[in-house]
């Protein structure tokens, strides 16, 4: 076989691989939308589930999902962005940063079912929060923390060093440079990471089942249990309660994730464009 021919074959494989991936994505979206979308009505979105989800809508699960995401972001954003600032601005590359970075990589690699179990044992049982938005929020925050740290770090590193130098020679402290120059310029990148992690959190089931629980009631306090859309879909489908409502829930879920991804893609583009 000539090198030329080998290249042609390899290229052919790569191209068909790329198209296959795209086709699978479109197929999944199409099936879910075709089966689910006809059942998605305004009433479906605004009614609470009835009879275990056999009838009614998914309102309480939408509230639970948003509530859960907000709580986990409130925990994960300051912690993640703070860690990223510490790693990039306040430490010289060395043993400590390597260990912290390795730790976050490992955290990213922990299977979500294990994280769920950990959250269950620590927050639900040991600390006595029971299944609730708080337990779920903390556990989900742990899951998305690595994503936020990583993307924030990249965004902060992309801010030109010269801005920090200007801040320094004009008599600014390091912290003033971070607040006034580094963070505002890293904001689009950080935001992209946050949106990405929202996308991951919205579809997460393993962590959420163990820590938020599966209650179909609308949670008010952070100590109330709830059921996220993803978990609702899982239970409806897995227990064969209502395939119709399962698909409708999935359609809403996929639609939200799609919107979030498109939005983050758009943000990323603006971010890249703003940098040049």
């Amino acid at each position: 076989m000539t090198p030329k021919r080998a290249e042609h074959i390899a290229l052919g494989l790569m191209v068909s691989g790329a198209f296959l991936a795209l086709a699978i994505l479109l197929f999944i979206i199409a099936v879910i939308m075709i089966k689910g979308l006809p059942h998605v009505t305004l009433r479906f979105l605004l009614d609470n589930p009835m009879d275990m989800g056999r009838a009614g809508g998914i309102f309480s699960t939408i509230v639970s999902t948003i509530y859960l995401l907000v709580v986990s972001l409130i925990i994960a954003i300051p912690l993640g962005v703070g860690t990223a600032i510490y790693l990039t601005e306040y430490t010289v590359e060395g043993k400590v940063t390597k260990i912290i970075r390795f730790g976050t990589e490992c955290l990213a690699g922990v299977p979500s079912i294990i994280l769920g179990l950990f959250g269950f044992i620590l927050f639900v049982v040991k600390m006595g929060f029971s299944w609730c938005v708080l337990s779920g929020g903390i556990s989900l925050a742990i899951m998305i923390l690595p994503v936020i740290i990583r993307t924030s770090e990249e965004a902060i590193k992309a801010v030109p060093q010269s801005y920090r130098d200007v801040n320094e020679v004009l008599g600014g402290s390091k912290w003033q440079g971070v607040i006034r120059l580094v963070l505002p310029n890293a904001a689009p990148g950080i935001l992209t990471g946050i949106i990405l992690s929202v996308g991951r959190g919205i579809g997460e089931t393993a962590v959420v089942i163990f820590t938020l629980g599966t209650s179909l009631r609308t949670p008010f306090s952070i100590f109330d249990s709830g059921r996220s859309m993803a978990v609702h879909f899982y239970i409806l489908a897995q227990e064969g309660i209502s395939m119709k409502n399962a698909y409708a829930t999935a359609a809403v879920l996929v639609f939200s994730i799609l919107i979030i991804n498109i939005f983050s893609y758009y943000m990323m583009h603006r971010f890249v464009k703003g940098r040049t």
């Binding site: 010269s162 200007v166 020679v169 004009l170 008599g171 120059l181």
Partner: protein
């Protein structure tokens, strides 16, 4: 002889086991333009960075005494932030911040917590006038600074430093990469500024040093070869190396 504003005595600097400055002793007086010239890698920028306490590196070893505005800036007790407000530095490549011209100008004041509109405007105007940029940008202060031309950006950086009304202005090759007209404008601005400020001008353009400085120094490979009145250094230098450098025989 008045007391010098910047007084270096036997200053040596070493980073990463590499000598950068060797036994530098010189005086810089109030209201003069002090030129520092010399070929690349001679330690000119490093010297400026010692003066405003921004030199960074690993395994830094510093010896000697360096007094700036009466303060020993090599001691561990020096508080760099107030020092840098009094001794402002402008980099060789202009760095404008991604904000409006006005916000660039008042950055140094904002970080001091100054919010008073009229004080900020006053400082911005003072800076722009000092850098002879006022007429060009006076009616577009709210426009992004990054849209300015290279020469304007460099003058904006000088203006930003001048908005703080520093005692000393450290300029690191402020006209490298600029056209003759922009260079001329900056040189004119400097001559005006020295009436109320002290300027340390680093340049590897010997003609510029000859044109604008009152006294100057010649740095070569970290050593101070010669320092004295510019008129004397450029006519009857004491050292042969100075003569060779000025005549363009090396560097």
């Amino acid at each position: 002889m008045p007391e010098p504003l910047i007084k270096a005595r036997n200053v040596s600097l070493e980073a990463d086991g590499k000598p950068i400055l060797k036994d530098i002793s010189l005086d810089i007086f109030r209201n003069e333009i002090f030129g520092i010239m010399g070929p690349a890698g001679g330690g000119k920028t490093s010297f400026l960075r010692l003066v405003n306490h921004t030199f960074r590196g690993s395994n830094v070893k510093i010896e000697g005494r360096l007094h700036v505005l009466g303060e020993d800036v090599l001691s561990d007790e020096v508080n760099p932030t107030p020092l840098r407000r009094k001794v402002s530095m402008v980099f060789a490549t202009p760095v404008v911040l991604p904000m409006s011209i006005f916000e660039n100008l008042v950055y140094g004041l904002r970080i001091q917590g100054i919010r008073d509109k009229s004080r900020l405007r006053e400082a911005a105007e003072r800076g722009l006038k000092a850098a002879i940029l006022w007429d060009e940008v006076r009616d577009r202060l709210d426009k992004p600074a990054q849209k300015l031309s290279g020469g304007q950006q460099q003058r904006l950086c000088i203006a930003r430093a001048m908005a703080l009304s520093p005692d000393v202005l450290l300029l690191d090759e402020p006209t490298s990469g600029l056209d003759p007209i922009s260079t001329f404008r900056i040189e004119e601005a400097l001559k005006e500024l020295k009436k109320r400020h002290t300027i340390v001008l680093v340049s590897n353009n010997t003609k510029q040093i000859a044109r604008v400085s009152d006294r100057c120094a010649f740095f070569l490979m970290g050593e101070l070869i010669e320092t004295g009145k510019t008129s004397q250094m450029f006519t009857v230098p004491r050292e042969k190396k100075t003569d060779d450098y000025i005549a363009g025989r090396f560097g």
